[in-house]
């Protein structure tokens, strides 16, 4: 199966969901031709930048492979159950991507028992085995993802960890994380790891060498982050995974009081010499799918570089960063990211300041919803396709195709396009008007989006569009 065929299949299979999931660099390919018609930019091999883990002396590639947004394919292509066909992971394609990544110097693979409807670890294990690389040549990171209260016992915690070893076909984990501490606050942290002895068990496993590095990933309540760091002397965190990108550096808290600025998180780790693993460097692809105005601003500086490459170079420039994770669904994303880091050209201080301040503010001036399509909220028990609704809305905002007021010249056409593409992206019974506001999703969202309120806001806008009662004064704002 060649790439074109794969793209076709994957595109057809997951439709808009796949589009949304492409944490990627659409429209930003660097490859080009010189005036003589030769390719100027082959994907380089052997030029990858590596960072050293001070605890184990691992030489980790600055590009880490996030196994959260794996390519899917339609289970039964003939069934055509549009627009949400039954899907499964396209293992053949995963194998190909992983092998390609290893060939080009990527050696950090980050998965979790929760990812990709629970199939990510298995798919990762198969792909790494199939790559033919020796186990010592790559590092596996996985997580203890005991989110459901039913999994809060010691036995369940141990079982999850043992299953990880089994699914990943290995007898040790290089990097193990307490998954997403901060969600639910200190109470949940206690119940998940501290009171039931699961953390003690993991520390034990580290002693035995089954876990080579122990750390945690953080989203949400910052008291949990502070608490675990305050216990650094006791637990000796080998690494911590945080969300870092140029829009979250100074503005995360300003945009949502429940979130924490990346600047604070990074500096806390830096103070304690703890290596930082970076997640959401691209905000689920949102920093590559920027509004035209922002794209123009970035392109003006480096016309040949993809929009996404700025975000990757930004995250890689911070010296305490061990690796920058990217959930790469398509080969083109992988290739572009390898180019960005082979080798990393660090940003100047002026460039960093410019991204953190001007570009970030410009970005936030567009009223998009900060959904990274991580799918943690899914499946919604009432069938709502939450990420697809947010993605459709964000895309219309970013493309400037929002129908704004009935008085606008292109209103009729914009309204038609918005409503048709909404129906195409999300089937009727999965649309925002079916959200009952039960709030079960809210605690799952790592970005602390007030999902029911946002769905109702979008639904209110759509109602106005349908009823033709949208006036220039009351837009979606």
């Amino acid at each position: 199966m060649d790439r074109r065929e794969f793209l076709k299949t994957a595109g057809a299979a997951s439709g808009a969901a796949a589009l949304a999931a492409c944490g990627g660099n659409v429209g930003g390919s660097i490859a080009g031709l010189d005036p003589m018609g030769h390719h100027t930019d082959e994907v380089p091999i052997g030029k990858m930048t590596y960072r050293t883990n001070p605890n184990t002396n691992d030489k980790v590639s600055i590009l880490g492979y996030g196994m959260m947004r794996l390519p899917n394919r339609q289970l039964d292509p003939s069934s055509d159950q549009r627009p949400t066909p039954a899907e499964e992971i396209d293992q053949e394609q995963v194998n190909r991507l992983v092998r390609y990544a290893l060939d080009h110097g990527v050696n950090y693979f980050d998965t979790s028992p929760a990812y990709s409807r629970g199939y990510s670890e298995t798919a990762t294990g198969i792909a790494l085995k199939a790559s033919g690389y020796d186990r010592s040549k790559y590092y596996i990171a996985t997580k203890l993802s005991n989110f459901s209260p039913a999994q809060w016992s010691h036995e369940e915690g141990v079982k999850i960890f043992q299953n990880s070893l089994k699914f990943l076909q290995t007898d040790y984990i290089d990097y193990l994380l307490l998954h997403a501490i901060g969600g639910g606050g200190m109470d949940t942290l206690h119940k998940r790891f501290l009171d039931n002895g699961v953390l003690d068990y993991l520390l034990e496993q580290r002693e035995k060498g089954v876990i080579r590095n122990l750390g945690f990933s953080y989203h949400g309540d910052v008291t949990c982050f502070d608490y675990l760091l305050s216990k650094h002397d006791e637990y000796k965190w080998d690494f911590v995974q945080i969300q870092l990108n140029y829009v979250d550096w100074y503005l995360a808290r300003e945009m949502n009081p429940n979130n924490t600025d990346a600047e604070y998180l990074y500096n806390e780790l830096d103070k304690r010499d703890i290596p930082a693993v970076i997640m959401e460097p691209l905000l689920g692809g949102r920093l590559s799918k920027m509004p035209d105005h922002v794209v123009a601003t970035l392109k003006q500086r480096r016309p040949d570089d993809s929009v996404a490459s700025w975000a990757f170079r930004y995250a890689g420039t911070k010296p305490r960063v061990l690796t920058v994770l990217s959930g790469m669904t398509y080969m083109e994303h992988l290739q572009d990211n390898i180019r960005s880091y082979s080798p990393l050209q660090p940003l100047t201080q002026e460039e960093q300041d410019w991204l953190e301040n001007e570009v970030a503010r410009l970005y936030y001036s567009y009223p998009t919803i900060p959904c990274t399509n991580c799918q943690y909220c899914m499946p919604c028990p009432y069938g709502i396709n939450i990420p697809a609704i947010f993605d459709h809305y964000n895309r219309c905002v970013n493309q400037g195709t929002m129908p704004e007021s009935a008085q606008a010249a292109n209103f009729r056409e914009a309204r038609r396009r918005f409503l048709i593409s909404y129906e195409r992206t999300v089937p009727r019974e999965r649309q925002a008007d079916h959200c009952i506001g039960c709030r079960q999703c809210v605690s799952h969202c790592p970005q602390n989006i007030r999902i029911p309120e946002q769905l109702r806001r979008i639904d209110g806008f759509i109602e106005k569009l349908k009823q033709g009662t949208l006036t220039s004064a009351e837009n979606i704002e």
């Binding site: 069934s79 593409s421 008007d433 506001g437």
Partner: protein, 529 residues
């Protein structure tokens, strides 16, 4: 000349009405809605005196051209007969004309009996079953049940293409939810018309069709009629042999007799007459006597043609009734389909005034059903409102901005209504079924019915007593005077039936499946708020 003009006009009307039924874009009703409003029986049903008088005047002037041009079922029969007359289906391929018809005696008793029963049934208000005989609505049922599903399939294929190419020319349309009984009725009507027309031309129109019978007796008195100039007539019988209405009697030695109750003024006789002996002429002009010619017999149907044609009709039919719904799956929770609750009183759309008004006026032509953009209107399957529209809310609800059915109805069964008027018409009221409510079955807080109610008729109230509502801030307080966090107390919908208009937003958007925890019960007579 008459024939060409007739054919051209008939084609325009036929295609226009067919498109009106098929169309899913909304332009059909803008462009061709008036053609449905010209149909005779629907106008009788709503006693639109102006249009009835106009159609009667037309008939008194020119004869039954209504049957040849305006009635889509009439034109459909001409179309079938035209195809059956193609040379490849003829036994004698050299003959210039088909010569396949023959004069038949008028079945006066049958015609009048059907008409009489028809009138009695309509006056008695039991029109639902006999309306099946009405020509325009029969045609509407055929297009809606047999052709529109194919049209929507084709549209959806184009929509898939459109989506793949990222343009917005076509969008996916959900097929109407139609019971198989409608397809059966439509298919049988189509088959009967097909067989009668390929063998006997206008047999249906001249024996069964109540509109045809009525207009036929009016046409008897029309000013212009097809007349034979006996001076030119050689009694060759070509006109008789090619008269699809079987109303021309040519006998040697006798003047040609034309039964004007059956003549649909198609002009075919005029065209075949080699002596130009036939003309549309005022009643007063003379008809002279001339010798008659002999008859010939020519049966021109063979098995292969019959087989071919029935086979095609069969294919068309099976293609039309294939399944509609598919369930979805993926990384998403499976959504169980909604089931339709049993309603004591069926729901009829705003503008229909009452169940009785609907029953008495509707000709079951399916136009409103074909046009409903929210998939709310369905053909009823109960006997006393057979195939007339009723509302169901499992696929959508009667949206506040839509008045499509009231705009297209030609029969006055759904009277024109504005969006503003619609907000004040109570077609039914919502009823809460506590056992189904997710507040209890799933232990979650909900309130989606109240949130989406367009008339504000639903309020969420605590399930148990002992709470008081503060009228100033709209919050609930417990017995100790503490404000209640409504997320912790089960809140259930309470319906203010004085405000409820029965639109079904609550029923459609209720998360409880397969049966909604709130559903709409119809009102026999619609009320105004």
């Amino acid at each position: 000349m008459l024939k060409i003009t007739r054919r051209l006009l008939a084609l325009i009307f036929w295609l226009g009405i067919t498109f009106l039924f098929l169309d899913i874009s909304g332009v059909g009703k803008e462009w061709f809605g008036w053609m449905a409003k010209m149909q005779f029986l629907p106008n009788v049903m709503q006693l639109d005196i102006v249009m009835i008088v106009l159609l009667l005047l037309l008939t008194l002037f020119l004869g039954r051209i209504y049957c040849s041009i305006i009635c889509p079922a009439g034109v459909l029969q001409d179309f079938f007969a035209w195809i059956a007359g193609w040379k490849i289906f003829r036994r004698n391929k050299k003959a210039k004309f088909h010569n396949r018809y023959r004069y038949s005696k008028p079945k006066t008793w049958l015609r009048l009996a059907v008409l009489l029963i028809f009138i009695i049934m309509i006056v008695a208000g039991f029109n639902a079953v006999f309306i099946i005989l009405a020509p325009y609505s029969a045609y509407g049922r055929m297009v809606t049940a047999l052709l529109q599903p194919l049209y929507i399939d084709a549209n959806n294929m184009l929509a898939a293409w459109s989506e793949a190419n990222d343009n917005y020319m076509f969008s996916v349309v959900e097929p109407n939810t139609l019971p198989s009984i409608l397809a059966w009725v439509a298919a049988i009507s189509a088959l009967v018309l097909f067989i009668l027309s390929i063998y006997g031309g206008r047999t249906y129109c001249n024996t069964i069709c109540p509109v045809g019978t009525f207009l036929g007796y009016v046409a008897k008195f029309s000013w212009l009629k097809m007349k034979v100039n006996e001076d030119n007539c050689i009694k060759c019988g070509l006109c008789e042999r090619n008269c699809k209405a079987a109303c021309i009697k040519v006998e040697k030695g006798k003047p040609v007799v034309i039964d004007y109750t059956r003549c649909v003024v198609c002009g075919d006789c005029q065209q075949v007459c080699s002596k130009s002996a036939l003309h549309l002429a005022p009643t007063s002009s003379n008809v002279s006597v001339a010798p008659a010619t002999t008859k010939t017999t020519d049966k021109s149907s063979d098995m292969s043609r019959r087989n071919f044609l029935t086979l095609t009709a069969g294919l068309l039919y099976t293609a039309a009734i294939h399944g509609q719904d598919k369930t979805t799956d993926g990384g998403l929770a499976v959504i169980e389909g909604k089931k339709i609750p049993e309603r004591l009183t069926p729901l009829t759309p705003p503008g229909s005034l009452s169940a009785r008004n609907m029953q008495q006026h509707c000709t079951a032509c399916q136009l409103c059903i074909a046009k409903c953009p929210n998939n709310v209107l369905r053909p009823s399957q109960s006997l006393n409102s057979f195939l007339q529209p009723e509302m169901q809310y499992d696929k959508g609800y009667c949206r506040p901005e839509c008045t499509t059915c009231s705009e297209v109805c030609p029969a006055g069964a759904i009277r024109p209504i504005t969006v503003e008027e619609k907000t004040a018409v109570q077609i039914g009221h919502a009823v809460f079924v506590k056992e189904n409510c997710v507040v209890f079955t799933d232990g979650v807080s909900c309130g989606n019915c109240a949130y989406h109610c367009p008339s504000g008729a639903i309020q969420m109230v605590p399930d148990s007593e002992g709470y008081t509502l503060n009228s100033e801030n709209g919050r609930w307080y417990d017995a100790d005077g503490n404000m209640v966090d409504t997320r912790n107390v089960p809140m259930i919908p309470s319906v203010n039936t004085e405000k409820c208009i029965g639109c079904g937003a609550c029923e459609y958007l209720c998360p409880s499946r397969p049966f909604s925890a709130i559903y709409v019960e119809g009102h026999e007579v619609h009320r105004e708020i």
